[in-house]
C-alpha cells in the first residue's frame, strides 16, 4: 500500500528561534500503514517538527506534502482538514464536560444541532468504530490518564486523521495501558493510517515502530529500519556518545532512622483522599524510591512531608522530633530538603535572578545576612561557587532563572537544596523533562547526597529511574503504599503493582 506518494513528506525543513536553530534541513517521509518512530532527546527538535506538521509553527524553509499535495497549514484547522491529527502531550480536554461533550465540541462546526443524548450515542459509536474503550458519560476530569488518551485519539480519528501524531504518549501510562495503546496503534496502521510516534524510550521504538528517524540538535542523524539496528547504535545517534552503564553503589549499611512516617493521610485539593494511612521509614544513606502512575498521591505525599499540606491524620518525625505540625521553614531548619515536582511553579521564581533563587534558603545564614539585611556580594559569590560546582549554565548569576533551560533550572533547585546538606531529601519527579545528560547529572547529585548520609525519598513516575536508583522500592497506587519485595524487583511486576495488583499476584 506504500506505492503511492507517502502520507506525509517533509522536505528540507529549517526553523530558527532567535539565535537557536531548532531544525536544520530536516526531511522525513511517513508512509501510510506504517508506524514511524521519531527519536531524540529533549531539545532535539521533535516538538518543533511536530508543531510544524500540525500548523502551530511555520517553517523558515522547506516544504510539506500530504498525500502528494503541497501542504502549508496556517493553523491547526488547516492541518486537521488535511488529515493530520495530533494527540497532545497535555491533553486538550475540558475537565467538567463529559467525554461525549468533549467529542461533540469538536464536531460542533459541522453538526447543526446538539443534544446530550445523541452526543452520548455518537461517542459510543465512535468508541466502537475505533475499538477504543471510552466511557461517553464520564466526566473528563474523572478519567485516568490512559482513558484521556483514548478520548484524544478518538477525537483525532473522528476529525478524519490519516496521519496520527503521538507526542510521548506513554510517559503517563502504566505498562499495561501502554500495551493496550500499542495494540490500538497497530490496528490503526493496518487500517492504512500513518502514525508518527515520538519518544525518547528506545524499548518502545523497538516494540512498536517499523522505521525510526533519529534527531539530534535539530538535524536528522539517520533514517533506519528498526529491524536493521540495535539500541546501542540508536543511543549513539541520539546522544552522540556511548551510553555509560550506571554503576550501582550499595547503600550504607544500617543507616539510622532519619524520618518516620506513621499512618499519614493527606487530602487532595478537591477533598478526596491523596494518600491514606501511609507508613514509611527513611534511613540515612539510603534512597527509598516510590514508583507509581501520576495522580496516585505523589504530590500529596511529598507536600505533606514537606509541610506544604497539612495532613488530616498521622504523624511525621524528623530526626526523632515530631514535626507533624511544623511549618516548612521549621522542617527545613531540622534538615529537610525538597526538590518539588513542578520546578517552574514551586522550584524557582522565574523572574528573580539565579543569585536570588540560590539564596532563597541560605539568606538566613549569618555569613550571608545581617539582621534584616542581606549581603548581596556574599550571596553573589556563593551563587558563583554553586553554579561552578553544579555546572549551571550560562554562568551569569544575575540572569533571571526563567532564562535557563529545564535541565539547568533543575540543577539550580538541586544545588540550592543540597547545599543545605539535608539529612532528609524529598525529590518528586526530579528528572521529568530532562535530557539524558541532565538526568545523569541529577542522579549523580542524588547519589552524592546519599553517600554523605542523606536519607532520600525519590518519588518518580519514571520506572527506569526508580529501578536504577532505589535501594528499596515501593509502589503508590490510589494513595496506598505497598513495598516491592526484592523478588519482584522487575519492570513487569512493578508495572503490575502500579496498575493496582498485589505483589503476590505479580510474582505469580
Amino acid at each position: 500500500m506504500s506505492d503511492g506518494p507517502p502520507a506525509v513528506q517533509a522536505s528540507h525543513i529549517s526553523k530558527r528561534f532567535g539565535r537557536v536553530a531548532a531544525l536544520h534541513d530536516v526531511s522525513l517521509e511517513i508512509e501510510a500503514g506504517r508506524i514511524q518512530g521519531l527519536l531524540g532527546e529533549n531539545g532535539a527538535g521533535k516538538s518543533t517538527l511536530m508543531n510544524i506538521l500540525f500548523g502551530l509553527v511555520a517553517p523558515d524553509a522547506g516544504t510539506l506534502h500530504v498525500a502528494g499535495e503541497l501542504h502549508a497549514p496556517r493553523g491547526p484547522a488547516d492541518a486537521r482538514a488535511a488529515g493530520i491529527g495530533m494527540v497532545h502531550q497535555h491533553f486538550m480536554l475540558v475537565d467538567s464536560l463529559t467525554v461525549a461533550e468533549n467529542l461533540a465540541l469538536h464536531r460542533i462546526q459541522d453538526s447543526g444541532s446538539y443534544d446530550r443524548l445523541s452526543a452520548v450515542e455518537t461517542a459510543r459509536e465512535l468508541g466502537e468504530r475505533y475499538q477504543l474503550p471510552i466511557r461517553p458519560e464520564a466526566r473528563a476530569g474523572d478519567l485516568s490518564v490512559g482513558e484521556r488518551q483514548w478520548v484524544e485519539i478518538v477525537k483525532a480519528l473522528d476529525a478524519g486523521a490519516r496521519l496520527l501524531i503521538l507526542d510521548e504518549p506513554t510517559a503517563v501510562l502504566t505498562p499495561g495501558e501502554s500495551e493496550r495503546l500499542f495494540l490500538a496503534l497497530r490496528g490503526l496502521a493496518e487500517g492504512g493510517r500513518a502514525i508518527l510516534f515520538i519518544s525518547h524510550r528506545l524499548s518502545e521504538i523497538f516494540e512498536l515502530c517499523s522505521h525510526v528517524t533519529v534527531l539530534r540538535n535539530g538535524s536528522v542523524q539517520d533514517h533506519l529500519a528498526v529491524k536493521e539496528t540495535d539500541s546501542s547504535h540508536l543511543t549513539r545517534l541520539m546522544v552522540g556518545r556511548e551510553p555509560e552503564p550506571r554503576r550501582r553503589v550499595p547503600a550504607l549499611q544500617d543507616g539510622t532512622d532519619a524520618m518516620a512516617i506513621q499512618a499519614l493521610t493527606v487530602a487532595r485539593d478537591d477533598g478526596g483522599p491523596g494518600v491514606e494511612a501511609v507508613s514509611l521509614e527513611l534511613r540515612s544513606g539510603t534512597i527509598t524510591a516510590v514508583a507509581g502512575i501520576e495522580g496516585n498521591g505523589q504530590e500529596e505525599l511529598c507536600e505533606g512531608l514537606a509541610g506544604l499540606r497539612s495532613p488530616s491524620s498521622g504523624r511525621v518525625t524528623l530526626a526523632g522530633l515530631d514535626v507533624t505540625d511544623l511549618s516548612p521553614l521549621e522542617r527545613s531548619r531540622l534538615g529537610l530538603g525538597f526538590i518539588p515536582g513542578d520546578r517552574q511553579r514551586q522550584g524557582i521564581a522565574g523572574s528573580m535572578t539565579l543569585t536570588e533563587n540560590l539564596s532563597l534558603r541560605a539568606h538566613r545564614r549569618p555569613s550571608l545576612g545581617l539582621g534584616p539585611f542581606i549581603r548581596p556580594e556574599a550571596l553573589q559569590q556563593r551563587a558563583r561557587d554553586l553554579m561552578e560546582r553544579h555546572d549551571i549554565r550560562p554562568g551569569d548569576p544575575e540572569l533571571p532563572a526563567s532564562s535557563l533551560s529545564g535541565g539547568n533550572q533543575q540543577k539550580l533547585v538541586a544545588a540550592r537544596e543540597l547545599d543545605e546538606q539535608p539529612g532528609v531529601l524529598l525529590a518528586l519527579n526530579p528528572t521529568r523533562g530532562l535530557d539524558v545528560g541532565a538526568m545523569d547529572n541529577l542522579h549523580d547529585a542524588l547519589l552524592e547526597a546519599r553517600s554523605q548520609g542523606a536519607a532520600i525519598l525519590l518519588v518518580s513516575t519514571d520506572l527506569d529511574e526508580v529501578l536504577a536508583l532505589g535501594d528499596s522500592i515501593l509502589v503508590l497506587f490510589r494513595g496506598k503504599l505497598s513495598a516491592v519485595p526484592d523478588s519482584a524487583r522487575s519492570r513487569k511486576s512493578i508495572g503490575l503493582m502500579m496498575g493496582g495488583e498485589t505483589p503476590e499476584e505479580s510474582r505469580a
Partner: protein, 300 residues
C-alpha cells in the same frame, strides 16, 4: 401585611441583582471577569432615563438602556479580549468613567436645578383586576415585565449552558480555552458573544433601577449593586440555580434593611445600611472559595 410588603420588596430588590448576576455568570463561564458591570448598570440606568425623558416613552428608554450598556460592555470586550489588557484594570477604569460620565451628562443635559426629573415609569402589563388582588397582586402581578423575565431567565440560561452547543462552547472557553481552539473554534468570538449577553442583562438591570424603581436618575444610583452581583456570582460558583438563591438572599436582606429604616428603629441607619455588605462578606467567606475545579482564567 408587613410580611407581604417585605416579600414584594424582596422581589423588587432581587430583580436587578439577578439580572446583573446572570450576565456576569455568563461572562465568567466564558472565562472573563467583568468588574465594570457596576458601570454598565449605571450607564443603562442613565440612558434609560435620558431617552424616556426625551421621548416620553418608557419602552424606548428601556431599549436605549440595553443598547448603551451593551455598547459599554463591548468596550470592555475590546480592551480585554482584543487588546489583552488586564480585565480588573479595564473594569475599574470603566467603572470610574461610567460614574463620571453619567454624572456629567445628567447635569449638563438636565441642569443642576435641584428639580427632580420624573420619567414615565415602566409599568406592569397585567390587567388592573389582577394587580389589585390581595397578596397575589403585589407579589405576582404588580411588576414590570422585567421581573418575570429575570426569573424565567434562570432555567433558560441553565438550559442553554448545559444542553446546547452554545453552552458547550461557553463552558469550554472558560475552563480550557486551549481545548476550544484545538477544536477549531474561536475563544475570542465566544467571549465577545458572552460580553454582549452581559451588556444586555446589565442594561436591563440598570433600566429596572431607574425606570421601574426610582422613576428618575440619581448619580451613582447603582450604589454597589454591580459589585453585589459579582459577589453573588463568586459565591454561587457560576451555577444558575445558586445564582438565583443567593440573589434572593441578598434581595431579602435589602428589603429587610429598608423595612428596618422605615420602622424607625433606634439602631443607627448607618449600621442598617451595612447589612447587605456585611452579608456579602459572610456569604463569600462561606461559599466564595474556589473549589479547585472551577478556576477563572483571567485574560488568558
Amino acid at each position: 401585611m408587613i410580611g407581604i410588603e417585605v416579600a414584594a420588596a424582596t422581589i423588587r430588590l432581587t430583580v436587578p441583582l439577578l439580572l446583573a448576576a446572570l450576565g456576569e455568570m455568563w461572562v465568567q463561564r466564558a472565562g472573563l471577569i467583568n468588574v465594570s458591570i457596576e458601570g454598565a448598570m449605571l450607564i443603562g440606568a442613565f440612558a434609560g432615563v435620558a431617552v424616556s425623558h426625551l421621548t416620553e416613552s418608557a419602552l424606548l428608554g428601556l431599549v436605549a438602556a440595553l443598547v448603551a450598556s451593551t455598547f459599554f460592555c463591548l468596550l470592555f470586550g475590546l480592551f480585554t479580549i482584543r487588546l489583552r489588557v488586564n480585565p480588573i484594570l479595564v473594569g475599574t477604569a470603566l467603572n470610574l468613567i461610567a460614574l463620571g460620565l453619567t454624572g456629567f451628562l445628567y447635569r449638563s443635559l438636565f441642569g443642576a436645578t435641584g428639580r427632580t426629573m420624573i420619567v414615565p415609569p415602566l409599568r406592569s402589563l397585567a390587567p388592573e383586576s389582577l394587580r389589585e388582588l390581595p397578596v397575589a397582586g403585589p407579589l405576582l402581578f404588580d411588576h414590570t415585565p422585567l421581573v418575570p423575565l429575570a426569573f424565567v431567565l434562570v432555567p433558560v440560561m441553565a438550559y442553554i449552558l448545559y444542553e446546547t452547543r452554545t453552552g458547550l462552547m461557553v463552558r469550554a472557553a472558560g475552563e480550557n480555552p486551549e481545548a476550544l481552539e484545538a477544536a477549531g473554534l474561536s475563544v475570542n468570538s465566544v467571549r465577545f458573544q458572552a460580553v454582549l449577553v452581559e451588556g444586555v442583562l446589565a442594561g436591563a438591570a440598570g433600566a429596572y433601577l431607574s425606570l421601574a424603581h426610582a422613576h428618575t436618575f440619581i448619580e451613582g444610583m447603582t450604589a454597589g449593586r454591580g459589585f453585589l452581583a459579582l459577589a453573588i456570582v463568586f459565591s454561587a460558583r457560576c451555577i444558575p440555580l445558586r445564582v438565583l438563591a443567593i440573589s434572593l438572599l441578598f434581595g431579602s436582606t435589602l428589603a429587610v434593611q429598608f423595612q428596618l429604616q422605615a420602622s424607625g428603629t433606634s439602631v443607627p441607619h448607618q449600621l442598617i445600611h451595612m447589612l447587605p455588605y456585611v452579608l456579602t462578606l459572610v456569604v463569600l467567606a462561606c461559599f466564595g472559595r474556589p473549589s479547585g475545579r472551577e478556576t477563572w482564567k483571567l485574560g488568558s
